[in-house]
Symmetry: C2
Subunit: 418 residues, 2 copies
Amino acid sequence: MNDTLQRVGEQARRAARALARADGAAKAAALRAMAQGLRTHAAWLQEENRKDLDAARANQLEAALLDRLTLSDRALELMATGLEQIAAMPDPVGELTDTRIRPNGMQIARMRVPIGVIGIIYESRPNVTIDAAALCIKSGNAAILRGGSEAFHSNTALGKIVQDGLAAAGLPLHGVQMVPTTDRAAVGILVTMTEHVDVIVPRGGKGLIQRLSKEARVPMIKHLDGICHVYVDRDADLRKAHTIAINAKTYRYGICGAMETLLVHEAVAPAFLPEVAAAFATHGVELRGCERTLSVLPGIAAATAEDWDTEYLAPILAVRVVTSLDDAIDHIETHGSGHTDAIVTEQIGAARRFQREVDSSSVYVNLPTCFADGFEYGLGAEIGISTNKLHARGPVGLEGLTTLKWVLSGDAQTRGTP
Amino acid sequence: MNDTLQRVGEQARRAARALARADGAAKAAALRAMAQGLRTHAAWLQEENRKDLDAARANQLEAALLDRLTLSDRALELMATGLEQIAAMPDPVGELTDTRIRPNGMQIARMRVPIGVIGIIYESRPNVTIDAAALCIKSGNAAILRGGSEAFHSNTALGKIVQDGLAAAGLPLHGVQMVPTTDRAAVGILVTMTEHVDVIVPRGGKGLIQRLSKEARVPMIKHLDGICHVYVDRDADLRKAHTIAINAKTYRYGICGAMETLLVHEAVAPAFLPEVAAAFATHGVELRGCERTLSVLPGIAAATAEDWDTEYLAPILAVRVVTSLDDAIDHIETHGSGHTDAIVTEQIGAARRFQREVDSSSVYVNLPTCFADGFEYGLGAEIGISTNKLHARGPVGLEGLTTLKWVLSGDAQTRGTP
């Protein structure tokens, strides 16, 4: 097992050097060849996918998971279109910024370059195989992909399409490798191979991320929780607050940007809460309130201490009445996860303070938290969302898969006496 | 011990919130008050410093270390001037970049904000106490400083000056804390307190960094080795190559940017090596050569395999003759430490390839590697040099102590059907 992973790692490192040097045209050609491959080999991919689906049914997987696992005609076409979109994006590699001449005449600049080898660990959705491979190739990185065992045949087949695309463009086959085993020990090795892997991007449930965080020696670009707040300020436009609260919760319950706690200033709670509670009721969202919320909405359940720290990912919402902007910020500092938090207000001072002081990867004024997504931000594609403070923060696109090195040019200037 | 560190950590986290909100004027005032404090209390600082010096003499510390430990009048004045320079720099916090309007009318931007709590672990030089405190305050971060036990009294006294400066500017005292013990266990706790410390910057020898790397759970901004190369290309101007090689090695032997290996293209080795070897001899630099080097310079010692992987930090230089640019790049990939590497060439294609393909934090054309320094790069000050690929790479100034969060503003736009 260890030998297999070491070999994969060494091959990735070698391929990373070639990919870092590849020009944008070759990388785009590889992505377009992959798109073509998905279309040409759809029948074969679906045959391989059927093996996973049969096993999943035999293991009585839930319908929602089966749905995610299925490589339908539509799913394959979406992947192909996604590849073509990434192919058409500008190449992030080689960009020079901060160029300046120092007093001694030497020129200094920063050059955007690939990170090297990216390990991606994910669960059931086989489309991640294509998305992640495409983002890594485009950004000039080599990728080692480790999908869920329930999608092993699908991912192996998709990996073949990816490698055919690389070969068609004259790029190294080992630019993207699937970990060739379902053995769980492989993941533990992957996250500790600091000599061959530069960063791990885990995509999956909190259980997976927590386990990896404990074992990892390789840095991770990750988020654990999305306990997102919407704070309705005393100076909120209550119609906007209504629209934002409903969208933030009900756009999709299962995404990390879904609002999990609604904070309402005491001055507007009596006017705001009954109407929004009625709207949540029509969506089937269960409310759990603090004591002061219950005095306005006597029919709902009481929140426990645990509720403020829970990412429901479900039609459940915690509601708390706060006494001030400071009280709201304190609540978010204490219970938030640094993901995405929003204020609803018409008062510019409150908006400025909230946006400056809330220490989350994304901070919104008058927008629902469910916008937390790389496509919505205009990044074109997203490898994940990071609540790290170092390197990439918030939605991570191509730029998050690159780094800046310093490039200096001179004419034999020397450094003087210390 | 654990309780002490936990309390320090909690106090730092609270102070970090206040510092993140502090305006630039208050932070600059604190730094100027610190400069004033160093001058006003010079006699007392030197009295405290004498306790460390007496102990150091009793422990028979080397003269070089004693020198570094001494808070001379000149050393104190240099620290005070440094503080005033950092005070005068622009405040990095709050800068908005990448602002744009999305098609739905919402505005998106990135705001530069402090990281939070920075832990700095360093060895004998007490001036790091002042430099590190100043950079953290200026960038709006709280700092936990842990200096070497041999400078304990000096650092404690300097820490008092720092806290007085914070108080004079109305900023929280706990914005900068010295770890109040010389117990070595404190370091092990500091680097694992992920809830209270966001990043560790270790400054010291390789032994310290290696030990910390093994124990740390908090991310570190660090470099381990500085095995820096100068490659003299076949198309080098040999007078420039001479100047660059001599300066890269002899500017100062003990800095991480000092050249440790000289690579010379076979076509120019016979013309270049004898003259540069004679110059190195006058500097007292010992050369250790590969077989082909020895055929040109028969008088020098033979390099062993180990030499290519050694950071001498001393007047010793490994010399190797290579057959091509690719051979040079391969050598650097295999034996380099990703710190700083240089090519000497007049050929633009070779320069471009070297600068693009060498995967180091700084890559130079026609400049000596000893320029690897934040002041030389125009960063104004430097907390350290990073060979990390994520976040800060190369010399790290104020910007490396900050992070970018996303700030979005809208008018109750909603996200549509998934």
